[in-house]
């Protein structure tokens, strides 16, 4: 790692904070996606089917 000068603490804190927030939003997004897809698969496995989702123009 290169020397970051007298304000290294600010630079490291900035990159660390952005890494944490970015990782947080990635994990949250993927966890939410996983929850919804597995619940959908579960309902479909129970035999519950959408009535006319393939109909043109239908609002989801």
């Amino acid at each position: 790692m290169i020397a970051l000068g007298p304000h290294a603490a600010y630079i490291i804190a900035a990159y660390l904070g952005v890494t944490l927030i970015t990782a947080g939003i990635i994990i949250w997004t993927l966890a939410d996606a996983g929850r919804q897809t597995s619940r959908l698969a579960e309902l479909e496995a129970m035999g519950v089917r959408r009535r006319s989702a393939a109909k043109r123009g239908k609002r989801i």
Binding site: M1, I2, A3, L4, G5, P6, H7, A8, Y10, I11, A13, A14, Y15, G17, V18, I21, T22, G24, I25, I26, T29, L30, D32, A33, Q36, T37, R39, L40, A41, L43, E44, M46, V48, R49, R50, R51, A53, A54, R56, K58, R59, I60
Partner: protein
């Protein structure tokens, strides 16, 4: 699980209707996700290498210029995401497009995160360069208002069970709030401020040397690709969430009939 259009229906639709139909969107978007995610990861690796190992300290700010490589991309995305939400809001209100409100809802938390990161990194960059973490000037205050607007819109989505009704109200408020975007952009020209004026997108070209501009552009692309990936994943999730709700409602109704 996914329901592409049947051939008869697809023939009658325009190319835009086809790619933006929820079923079609689910189909094509999964092929875009991997290249976008890999592209984003590679750009981050390249951008960070430039930022820390292949770019000089600034002649005035020294090494704190390296904060710019994460501050500017997040600040750019904080405004870009809101502009995207405003376009989606028009899609909801004018064309009542089924994917417009999905796009709006999926983008809001990402916009809030990018705005929070822009404010956070800006404060950490401001302290060593200006001598203060915060100043109530035009650019910083309008960006803080942007964060509050994102949080308000997220809260509004959550306040409604009926997401189609929520979409119309959120769309109107999103369009009203869009006035803040040019205010953020031109705040550095309109008012006295600690914040520097535009230095990349200018009529006379960027004011920074290529060795500093290169990591900035690469990191901006990396964050933009990341936004693309997360936005698509969140849009897909929102479609699935609405399908889950509709199936759960159907199941409850069927249960009530049989009992």
């Amino acid at each position: 699980m996914e329901s592409p259009l049947d051939t008869e229906t697809a023939k009658k639709m325009t190319w835009f209707d086809r790619i933006a139909h929820p079923g079609q969107f689910l189909m094509w978007s999964r092929y875009v996700l991997l290249p976008l995610a890999v592209g984003s990861a590679l750009l981050f690796v390249l951008g960070l290498w430039f930022a820390f190992f292949n770019s000089p300290p600034d002649y005035q700010m020294g090494d704190t210029v390296r904060i710019m490589y994460i501050h500017v991309p997040n600040a750019w995305l904080s405004q870009f995401v809101y502009a995207l939400m405003a376009v989606s809001a028009i899609g909801t209100l004018v064309w009542r497009h089924p994917m417009a409100d999905v796009s709006m809802k999926a983008a809001a938390p990402l916009g809030a995160a990018f705005t929070a990161m822009a404010l956070f990194t800006g404060a950490l960059w401001g302290r060593p360069t200006w001598g203060t973490f915060w100043e109530w000037d035009g650019r910083m205050t309008s960006t803080l208002i942007l964060l509050l607007m994102y949080l308000g819109l997220i809260a509004l989505w959550r306040a409604f069970d009926d997401q189609l009704r929520a979409a119309k109200i959120v769309a109107v408020l999103t369009l009203v709030g869009a006035i803040n975007i040019p205010v953020i952009k031109f705040s550095v020209d309109w008012w006295n401020t600690l914040h520097q004026p535009a230095s990349v997108f200018r009529a006379d070209g960027p004011t920074m040397p290529p060795e500093i501009l290169t990591p900035l552009l690469v990191m901006s692309l990396a964050f933009t690709f990341l936004f693309g990936v997360l936005h698509i994943v969140r849009m897909r999730t929102e479609i699935f969430r609405r399908r889950v709700k509709s199936l759960e409602r159907k199941r409850a109704l069927e249960g009530a009939k049989t009992s």
